[in-house]
């Protein structure tokens, strides 16, 4: 067994093909071999034809003159084609991603179903309305006369976008595809090495609907190694694109930032940590405590704590004895989830070891469970230094929820509050500290249609706001 590991380390394994999608056409090829540490396999792609990724600005994008209505209809049909998956491409993509073992198969399957359901006409329209106020701005030059009598026409003009996709959610792929299409953009998706398959599989479903439709013709999805200057220096230019839409932090964003310049903007979805704030009301009765622990576990454990909305640090108003009761209950609820969604991967060894050190220092810390991915709760006086992952909850006792506001910062995204009534007391302080979303405890995974994300209306940021000034309205 160990011998096999050793040999595997030296001998290259078979590589999985990851085709490209370029302006509505599938491009197959196996010229370039890439290593994916996350996938645990190599994959092969065609060689990138850089010229094919670029359309000159003199040539209007395929969607520029297509009405939103028609785009929505096409997206809805794409959702249906995704559900049919007649050639099994999505199934194959799920197989490949589930090999990464980060999320169990059932969970990815359900995300793909949710992704298909996301392509719902009424909801997408509602999304656009909430983001832009008036969706006519996408189709027409909308007139306005100001209080001095000046007349202008405004249009949410289609942009040229590069989307640097995160690899941790099929939902993000489908959402980026939908929003990018609704704003009628020329879209280039750069896929990540942890999932170079899903975006292309979704786009393939479009070809089943109509291979010549302007939506697929305005989209390309390719892979190159993030930071590969041979590609990025050539195409990250304002002559070709208006905005780079990027997720994450660290190297991923540093790579992108160096190409920003006049005419090339960044729309960034920064790396986020979500938290919970639980008031002393949780201890009013045993039934309530149980209910609160169930909701907290839901926010912590959803998607095996891979997403930014998952709670990682829970501030609980109470004394240590009370808080320990909550911790014990929370641990039980996290473990109970495993029956439905499976365990998360075990904690990396260094993290597990840090938690074990805490266990030995029981004057200062409390630890419930072990770091095997089945659910772990660590109680500490202050938030721990590490980023809790793989179903790990860090519970911090506080005297009052307001005293926990000092731990809120610009990386704080979602804050789940119990009881719901106390959201009002906290929301200004949370927003002031940098947090971007306040929800009821247990509802971190919910989303009201078209609500701001990371402190912005995404479609509003995507489009190119253009004005046509038409002088003063004549008083005749």
């Amino acid at each position: 067994m160990n011998q096999v590991t050793a040999l595997d380390a030296v001998k290259p394994r078979a590589a999985t093909p990851a085709p490209f999608f370029i302006r509505g056409r599938m491009v197959e090829g196996t010229e370039v071999r890439h290593k994916s540490r996350d996938l645990g396999v190599d994959f092969v792609t065609p060689k990138i034809d850089l010229d094919a990724l670029i359309a000159p600005r003199t040539e209007p994008g395929p969607l520029f003159d297509v009405r939103l209505e028609e785009i929505l209809d096409f997206l809805v049909e794409t959702g249906q084609a995704m559900k049919r998956d007649k050639d099994g491409y999505l199934r194959e993509a799920v197989n490949r991603i589930s090999a990464t073992n980060v999320l169990p198969r059932v969970m990815i399957d359900s995300q793909v179903r949710m992704a298909a359901d996301y392509l719902n006409k009424r909801r997408l329209l509602e999304y656009a309305e909430r983001n832009l106020g008036n969706v006519k701005l996408l189709d027409e030059w909308v007139p306005n006369v100001d209080s001095t009598g000046r007349r202008s026409f405004t249009r949410a003009f289609p942009p040229r976008l590069i989307h640097v996709l995160p690899g941790n959610s099929p939902m993000v792929s489908v959402q980026s595809i939908a929003l990018g299409s609704m704003v009628k953009a020329v879209n280039l998706f750069k896929m990540g090495s942890s999932d170079p398959f899903m975006a292309v599989a979704i786009l393939r479903a479009m070809l089943d609907v109509d291979p010549n439709h302007p939506v697929p013709r305005s989209i390309s999805a390719v892979y190159w190694r993030g930071g590969d200057e041979a590609v990025e220096r050539a195409i990250y230019r304002p002559q070709y694109f208006d905005k780079i839409v990027a997720w994450g932090g660290g190297d991923a964003i540093t790579n992108v930032i160096k190409y920003l310049m006049p005419g090339l903007q960044l729309v960034s979805f920064d790396p986020k940590t979500s938290i919970s704030m639980i008031g002393s009301e949780a201890f009013d009765s045993d039934e309530i405590l149980d209910e609160v622990a169930t909701r907290a576990a839901q926010d912590v454990g959803m998607s095996n704590q891979e997403a930014c909305v998952c709670s990682r640090v829970l501030f609980v108003e109470g004394d240590r004895k009370q808080v320990d009761r909550f911790c014990e209950r929370l641990h039980r609820k996290l473990v109970a989830q495993n029956a439905v969604s499976g365990k998360a991967p075990p904690l990396p060894r260094d993290l597990a070891e840090e938690v074990e050190t805490f266990r030995m220092m029981d004057d200062d810390f409390g630890v419930w469970g072990i770091g095997d991915g089945s659910g772990l709760v660590v109680r500490s006086d202050e938030p721990v230094d590490f980023h809790p992952i793989n179903k790990t909850a860090n519970v911090v006792p506080v005297k009052t929820l307001k005293s926990a506001l000092k731990y809120v910062n610009v990386a704080t995204q979602t804050v789940g509050v119990y009881p719901p009534a106390r959201q009002v007391e906290l929301r200004d302080g949370l927003a002031g500290g940098g947090a971007q979303r306040v929800v009821r405890l247990g509802d971190a995974g919910g989303q009201s249609i078209g609500a701001p994300h990371d402190a912005m209306y995404i479609m509003h940021r995507f489009v190119h706001w253009i004005v046509h000034e038409d002088g003063f309205v004549s008083k005749a």
């Binding site: 996350d38 500290g433 940098g434």
Partner: protein, 454 residues
């Protein structure tokens, strides 16, 4: 005198091989059973002393060490020595830090008077009075590792290095001037390790050269850690950041000055035999400067020697850097000693003539898979690749088993140099540097929002 040396034991026998004529020529098949016996001896003694070890033994259900695979669950991650909450350091909670240190130490870190302790340096000083010689180092994550050691450890590290130098082909004859390059953090380990080498090589009456620059103190490293934490908490004021940036600029200047001073010292002492020690990065910079001042190999003694440890540490050097250093300072492969090790253990592996790092018999090399969870069993021939882990039987003040962050190629077959001990190829890489770098997720921490304090 100490635990390691008073036990009439396999541990003692293996560790005392440091004084054997050539400890690196023992066959693995011969050493392995003795190492296993010795590690078991250590384990039985320490499992009740080192709390983290007890925890690991219980988790791994290990009660005896009989085979190499039994050692794996007992290894500490190299991050074990930085598993304390950083807030305690920043808020100077010495009592709590003491309790933490106790969990990774052989000898009890007893509660002590904390009166008058002004900072980390004071606390470390007070620990030293109790026989706990704690070395701190800032690692790749920026957090300081704190490693406890006894006097035995400090003495052994220096002695073993000197013996290694001899294996590496250098002859300590009190006949040269020591030239030390660049800045090294001032820690008990660093101070102790170099001393025997310096004493054995320096000619009588010839002062060793060290660049005259403010030492990198542990207190200084802590200030940086504190500021980074305050910046991520959002409590650091711009004035503090500006002061830090100015200090960082001053440190960069000091490094420049150290290079300058070392180049001058080399030129000034060029008529003497020299022994040059330092990291590869500064060594290359010094060589460049010496060259630019018009000196090269012909101006230096053909008996010069050098010692360096560690790899390039991310220094970006031209591919022919070795040749350039050799041709500037009149060095040859035979007259340099190169070592590979990690700060968590005392013994370094010395590079042989064939360019491989050899394991001393008192250090077990364990090759693991990338996750560090599984042993890759040694094979009688061929080279295997994986994560390096070591068990250093000489360690007294803390546990000897540590997993590194290094990707290595190891062999257990006899080396081309003629020695039979297991050896590690020269191309050591860090897993951290190999990460694909383009994994993107929406979840992440405030660390991504802190600029410039690393």
């Amino acid at each position: 005198m100490n635990t390691a040396m008073t036990l009439d034991s396999q541990v003692r026998q293996l560790v005392s091989l440091v004084d054997a004529e050539n400890p690196f020529d023992m066959a693995f098949s011969e050493v392995l059973p003795r190492q296993l016996e010795a590690i078991n001896e250590r384990f039985q003694d320490r499992v009740h002393k080192i709390k983290l070890l007890k925890n690991r033994a219980e988790t791994g259900a290990i009660t005896q060490v009989r085979r190499m695979a039994d050692v794996v669950p007992l290894l500490f991650a190299h991050t074990a020595y930085k598993s304390y909450p950083e807030g305690w350091l920043v808020e100077q909670k010495w009592d709590r830090l003491g309790r933490w240190l106790d969990t990774v130490s052989t000898n009890r870190v007893a509660p002590m008077s904390l009166d008058g302790i002004q900072g980390l340096d004071d606390w470390l000083g007070r620990l030293g009075e109790q026989g706990h010689y704690v070395s701190c180092s800032s690692g790749t994550t920026g957090k300081c590792a704190m490693m406890n050691a006894t006097q035995v450890d400090l003495d052994f590290a220096g002695h073993a290095l000197l013996r290694g130098l001899v294996f590496g082909g250098l002859a300590p004859n009190h006949d040269r001037r020591m030239i030390s390059l660049g800045q090294v953090a001032s820690t008990p380990r660093n101070r102790a390790t170099g001393r025997p080498m310096t004493e054995a090589l320096s000619a009588p009456g010839v002062e060793p050269f060290y660049p005259q620059v403010p030492p990198i103190t542990i207190g200084g490293i802590t200030e940086m850690v504190t500021l980074r934490k305050k910046m991520s908490d959002g409590t650091a004021k711009p004035g503090e950041v500006a002061r830090y940036e100015a200090e960082a600029a001053a440190r960069a200047k000091a490094i420049e000055s150290a290079v300058q001073q070392a180049a001058d010292a080399l030129i000034e002492s060029r008529h003497m035999k020299l022994h040059i020690t330092g990291m590869l990065g500064p060594m290359y910079q010094v060589a460049e400067l010496v060259r630019s001042k018009g000196y090269s190999a012909k101006d230096f003694s053909p008996e010069n020697s050098a010692f360096w440890s560690g790899g390039l540490k991310r220094a970006v050097l031209p591919p022919d850097y070795r040749k350039f250093i050799f041709e500037t300072l009149n060095l040859t492969t035979e007259r340099i000693c190169q070592a590979y090790g990690m700060q968590e253990i005392s013994t370094t592996a010395i590079r042989c003539k064939a360019g491989r790092y050899h394991m001393a018999p008192w250090v077990m090399l364990l090759l693991l898979d990338e996750s560090g969870d599984h042993l890759i069993e040694p094979t009688a021939s061929g080279e295997l690749e994986g994560r390096a882990a070591f068990f250093d039987l000489s360690l007294d003040g803390r546990w000897g088993g540590v997993i590194s962050g290094d990707k290595i190629r190891a062999t257990w077959e006899p080396c081309a140099c003629g020695n039979r001990s297991p050896s590690v190829g020269e191309d050591v890489q860090r897993y951290a540097d190999l990460a694909s770098g383009d994994k993107i997720a929406c979840a992440g921490t405030i660390d991504a929002y802190v600029r410039g304090v690393t």
